[in-house]
């Protein structure tokens, strides 16, 4: 375990009698960014939710010294933050309200600015595009951990549906978070983003296919194995 911020051993998830995640082990150290990649239905989202302790799972799990499946929600929220692929909101809050609800309006405003959404602070969520709404929820997740150091951030497709400049802003935020001493695990379809992460975990049909540095995991052989032969031409 030593320096690992996130440590999962033989993690398995079964939903409705179907095995979605099967014996996945992975770890992320402080200061590390880890990308989870794989084809549609590989189990990326389920793995991320299991790591966040939001799903019942079997196997060993340790996030920042706690097992998020059994620790109380308040303590857990101090060690790991999670942002869903499609965050939702039943009510039409103003963007800045999210920071108040979180209880850290300043930290939230700071991350909002880093994601280039500062100008929308006074807008209602319904006035924003889907990508901008996602950005507001991402800022909430970033700000949820008061100090990146010693925290784990779990993001599901953070840059999907964002325009290019905001995609880059999100990538920079992820790397800045990791550099400050946090561990950031990102489920993504974006292989060029994955190549910039410290480590990559390739998932296929709920199993770990490869894990390690981008250069050794995102090879044509592994990509065509996981995604199918036609995908190997994708760089």
């Amino acid at each position: 375990m030593s320096d690992a911020m996130i440590h999962a051993l033989g993690l398995g998830v079964e939903i409705g009698g179907r095995r979605i995640i099967d014996g996945v082990s992975l770890s992320a150290a402080r200061g590390e960014s880890v990308a989870i990649v794989g084809p549609n239905g590989a189990g990326k989202t389920t793995l991320l939710r299991a790591l966040a302790g939001l799903l019942p799972s079997e196997g060993e799990l340790d996030v920042g010294g706690y097992d998020p499946r059994i620790i109380d929600a308040v303590t857990c929220a101090q060690t790991r933050a999670y942002c869903a692929q499609k965050p939702l909101s039943a009510w039409d809050y103003r963007v800045r309200d999210l920071g108040d609800i979180l209880g850290d309006p300043l930290g939230y405003a700071d991350w909002l600015a880093k994601l280039r959404l500062g100008e929308f602070s006074g807008h209602r969520l319904s006035e924003l595009s889907g990508g901008e709404q996602k950005g507001a929820h991402l800022a909430m997740a970033f700000a949820a951990l008061a100090e990146p150091f010693g925290g784990a951030l779990l993001l599901d497709e953070p840059a999907a549906s964002l325009d290019l400049s905001r995609q880059e802003a999100v990538a920079q935020a992820v790397f800045a978070f990791a550099q400050a001493g946090g561990a950031c695990v990102v489920a993504t379809h974006d292989l060029s983003f994955a190549r910039r992460c410290d480590r990559v975990v390739v998932l296929s049909e709920g199993r770990l296919v490869a894990a390690g540095e981008p250069a050794s995991t995102l090879t044509p052989a592994i990509i065509s194995g996981a995604w199918g032969a036609s995908a190997s031409s994708v760089r």
């Binding site: 939001l54 308040v74 857990c76 101090q78 933050a81 869903a84």
Partner: protein, 306 residues
């Protein structure tokens, strides 16, 4: 902020509507006679307003309202069962009737949560509609079979109980209304977080299960206590939160207290209009609420689509 000024203004408004009511009597002696009624209307309206806001928050559904989802129906049904089975014993202790109402409200809340939540918005409302129809029918069946309680229960179904408010009958439900409201206020942040979905709520440190149970339990308590005071009143639990959100935005830290005050003002206003305009044959608060509330509600519904 502006919200706080509005809150203060509404308290004054609710109070002044009440005092105008005193003035229409035949002198100061009526003050003592009517104050329980005014108090009951204020407390019940408060509970209805905040209960509606809490139920909408916990079900993440702007149309959830204890009147539409059958929780009031359940409360009245609970009272009907008690009166039907033990017509004399029911009045022996002050807490018997509130307890029966709470049991009924809790029963329908539990069924609503088990059957209706987790699915689409229409599933929740259809479940509520079914529960409401069932409990109303049950109440009427009991009412038609029990001679002495018949008029009482029919009046309850029409929301016409405020007229018989005495301090003796109302003190406990009034205290319960206030208690439920006070205990719901600290749930504001949980209700905000719940609006982002279960994963996000838990991710940000909300114990989803316990927050939900608390909110459902306290909403049932508020609905039960309010039912003991007025009988069934629709629309307040729906209107007060909608007006509150239109005034201060959707954050529950503001919506909950403002809905409580708006609810108190609306019910007291409706009751005052009902007996002020037709002193000889007063209209029930529920009738006035529906007459004034329904068009307002349709107007809100139209606005949501535009």
């Amino acid at each position: 902020m502006a919200g706080c000024v509005l809150l203060a203004g509404l308290v004054v408004l609710a109070l002044s509507v009440g005092t105008q009511g005193f003035g229409w009597g035949d002198g100061g002696s009526l003050l003592l006679l009517r104050s329980p009624r005014v108090l009951a209307a204020l407390a019940a309206g408060l509970a209805l307003g905040i209960g509606g806001a809490a139920q909408q928050g916990v079900f993440r559904n702007p149309l959830a309202d204890p009147g539409l989802t059958g929780v009031f129906g359940g409360a009245l049904f609970g009272i009907a069962v008690l009166l039907g089975l033990f017509p004399e014993a029911a009045w022996q202790r002050a807490w018997f009737i509130p307890a029966a109402a709470f049991g009924g409200a809790l029963g329908t809340s539990a069924l609503l949560t088990l059957i209706g939540s987790g699915g689409s918005s229409s599933r929740l409302l259809l479940t509520g509609l079914g529960l409401n129809a069932f409990t109303s029918a049950g109440t009427l069946v009991i009412a038609s079979r029990s001679g002495e309680s018949r008029e009482l229960l029919t009046n309850g179904a029409y929301g016409d109980w405020l007229g018989m408010a005495t301090l003796e009958l109302t003190w406990l439900p009034v205290v319960l209304c206030l208690l439920a409201a006070l205990l719901l206020l600290p749930l504001a942040r949980s209700l905000d977080l719940l609006s982002f979905g279960e994963d996000a709520a838990r991710g940000f440190g909300c114990e989803v299960g316990s927050a939900r149970r608390k909110a459902v339990l306290l909403t049932a308590l508020a609905a039960a206590a309010a039912t003991c005071l007025v009988g069934q009143v629709a629309f307040i639990g729906l209107l007060a939160p909608h007006l509150a959100r239109a005034m201060v935005g959707p954050r529950h830290a503001y919506v909950l207290p403002l809905s409580a005050l708006l609810g108190a003002g609306l019910l007291l206003g409706a009751d005052t209009i009902g007996r002020g305009l037709w002193p000889q044959a007063p209209l029930s608060a529920a009738a006035v609420t529906a007459i004034l509330g329904a068009p307002l509600f349709i107007w809100i519904a139209r606005g949501r689509h535009e």
